[in-house]
């Protein structure tokens, strides 16, 4: 049988995925499972979303040939400029898709989790645009290290709910958002920001992000040799890979955050170090103890600081369709500074992990490498300039 990389009718990618939800969420998840394809594939929905992506987000984002970077590495290197999206990252692609879906489902209240704050800003923006109430759960630790995005969300009218439980980062912000949904099952839609959570979220978010590779296919008339993207939960990566999953001529590379190194405990390299298990209602790979307690991850980048990974990535890892590697905080910081000085583009710390991989790979002069530049670095200036 031909290998499949997409979700099956039960919500699984191989052995990963599913909806490991408490009964309290059954009606909400069932409603989404039964309606998300019919609603999002309808002509009316597609027309509305495409128009917003064009006029409001500024899509298509450029596929920029990075001349000086290419000269440095001795191959053709292109940057997919998701950092040029309105709000500064790819997250808006999904937030707009889901808010349109929420409207069709007659929901009036929106909740979201956020790590780096990019998904929070994207959701707050979408809510402002549609006149919906917006509540963003954010770890207390992340609120401190991502102050500019906190200010933006407030400006956009969102209420930020600090999360002080557990790791005080993305993992616990996600727990609290799910608990909010349990307590407000009728009027609320939960806009998950990555390809994680119970089915249908991983597939739904992947579909909304797939516009990235849909555009790449139109922008580059030939196959790239490589597409490289950073991975926390994995939404920008799946978006960049999506339309190339069945094209084996293109090597797909996902770069995890090694933090201080995968031989230390300060790391977020889930696929390098994790084991199969259930987190946030899906079967995936996660950082955990032998007893099944989830381990608190670490990365300098708040958007990659997640102990799990999207179930589709766990499956793409298992089937070896995608190559997964990792880079450290320091390598990512160096790459961010190098891109800034070489191309005049300050990348997000998350995206800098994908850039840093260029130094770790074998590059041939005939290579055509696409880096998905998932976000811009304004939010990270404090961290980026600490040692200048």
């Amino acid at each position: 049988m031909k290998q499949t990389y997409q979700v099956n009718k039960n919500g699984f990618y191989g052995e990963y995925g599913g909806a490991f939800i408490p009964e309290m969420l059954y009606p909400n998840i069932k409603e989404l499972q039964e309606s998300y394809i019919a609603i999002t594939a309808s002509q009316e929905f597609q027309k509305e979303l495409k128009q917003l992506l064009h006029d409001y987000v500024g899509r298509p984002t450029p596929l920029y040939f990075a001349k000086r970077l290419s000269e440095h590495y001795g191959a053709a290197i292109y940057l997919k400029r998701e950092d040029l999206c309105h709000t500064g990252a790819h997250k808006i692609n999904n937030a707009l898709g889901q808010i349109l879906l929420a409207k069709k489902l007659n929901k009036t209240r929106i909740i979201a989790e956020t790590g780096a704050g990019q998904h929070g800003v994207a959701t707050a923006t979408a809510c402002a645009l549609m006149g919906m109430q917006c509540f963003v759960y954010m770890g207390a630790k992340d609120i401190k290290r991502q102050a500019p995005n906190v200010a933006r969300m407030k400006m956009l009218g969102a209420e930020i709910i600090p999360v002080n439980s557990g790791s005080k980062t993305l993992k616990d912000a996600t727990n609290e958002a799910i608990r909010d949904w349990i307590n407000n099952p009728k009027n609320t839609h939960y806009i998950i920001g990555s390809v994680v959570g119970p089915h249908p979220y991983p597939d739904m978010v992947a579909r909304f992000q797939s516009v990235i590779s849909e555009e790449i296919k139109k922008q580059l008339n030939e196959n790239p040799t490589h597409i490289i993207a950073c991975i926390g939960g994995g939404s920008n990566a799946i978006g960049a890979f999506y339309h190339y999953l069945y094209n084996e001529n293109v090597q797909l590379i996902g770069v995890e955050a090694a933090g201080k190194g995968i031989d230390t405990t300060d790391t977020a390299a889930t696929l390098a170090l994790g084991k199969q298990g259930v987190l946030h209602a899906c079967m995936t790979t996660l950082l955990q103890t032998a007893d099944g307690q989830v381990v608190e991850p670490y990365s300098i980048s708040a958007g990659l600081d997640y102990p799990g990974i999207g179930p589709q990535h766990a499956h793409l890892h298992k089937t070896e369709r995608v190559k997964y590697d990792n880079v450290t905080d320091k390598e990512a910081l160096d790459a961010a500074h190098f891109l800034s000085k070489t191309e005049g583009i300050i990348p997000a710390l998350e995206s800098a992990h994908a850039l840093a991989y260029l130094d770790k790979m074998q590059i041939e002069p005939t290579d055509k490498i696409i880096i998905n530049l998932s976000g811009r670095g304004d939010k990270d200036l404090e961290t980026l300039t600490k040692n200048l």
Binding site: A19, F20, I21, P22, E23, M24, S165, V278, A281, D291
Partner: protein
């Protein structure tokens, strides 16, 4: 006593107390079990702490975090159970990942050995249970207990009734545990449940914190399950047997 015998022979509303294993101290469980049995509690729900308990409010999140910090593990829970002499019917409550890591079959085998009557895994959906794990649970004679909520459709409640082997856990409101919002809002839902004449008995849980809540539960179902309120009561206890006795007395005074 099996769960079935417990429900068949009950003379008054059943009181089920939840506590977190490894809390407040690593080795508190045997003492808690004895005290609950002595106080006349009908069954207990032993919480296996998990780092990310999605269905739980702040109280059980905290007791779980403390228990994990104290060093509790699934193996230790079984070791403590083996040492306990308590005959009170016991149910294990936990999240699926801990059981999955332990190994489903090994977990069921240990449960049987420790005299566990049933298991509640709120994040293991019925369809996945049936497809992958039901045969193993049945092989070891373990009952699995599913939840219904005010948002569960009548069709699904009937289906859950059919899939259940001991009792159904009726959640009092659409919420996480320990809200203390009172029970009155659940009236209509509980009336409907009662009218449905289900085959399996119901126990009401979530947000039951005092005698009037428990009495309310008893008018509609076979009894009530108390968790967060009990955890709060024993959190800083200097004398567990005495505090447990006084708590149970406050819920169900002995004449």
């Amino acid at each position: 006593m099996t769960l079935q015998e417990l429900f068949n022979n009950k003379k008054e509303a059943l009181l089920n107390i939840y506590f977190t294993a490894g809390f407040p101290k690593l080795n508190s469980m045997p003492q808690i079990l004895s005290a609950l049995e002595e106080a006349g509690v009908d069954m207990v729900e032993i919480g296996m702490p998990y780092s990310d308990p999605l269905s739980d409010g702040p109280t059980i999140q905290e007791s779980s975090a403390i228990a994990i910090k104290n060093g509790i593990t699934t193996d230790l829970i079984f070791q403590q159970l083996e040492k306990s002499t308590s005959k009170i019917p016991k149910i294990m409550m936990g999240y699926f990942n801990a059981v999955f890591q332990y190994g489903i079959e090994k977990f069921c085998e240990k449960c049987k050995k420790a005299g566990i009557a049933g298991v509640i895994l709120p994040d293991l959906p019925i369809n996945i249970y049936q497809e992958k794990y039901q045969a193993i649970f049945e092989q070891y004679g373990l009952s699995i207990i599913f939840l219904v909520t005010p948002e569960t459709s009548e069709e699904r409640i009937r289906y859950i009734d059919k899939c259940s082997t001991s009792f159904i856990y009726a959640v009092s409101s659409s919420s996480t545990t320990g809200k203390e919002t009172g029970m009155q809002a659940a009236k209509e839902y509980l009336n409907q449940l009662k009218k449905m004449n289900l085959n399996k008995p119901l126990m009401l849980g979530f947000n039951i914190s005092k005698k009037e809540d428990f009495d309310f539960a008893a008018t509609y179902t076979s009894g009530g399950i108390i968790g967060s309120a009990f955890i709060k009561h024993i959190k800083n206890s200097q004398n567990l047997p005495q505090d447990i006795k006084s708590f149970v007395q406050s819920i169900r005074p002995k004449n």
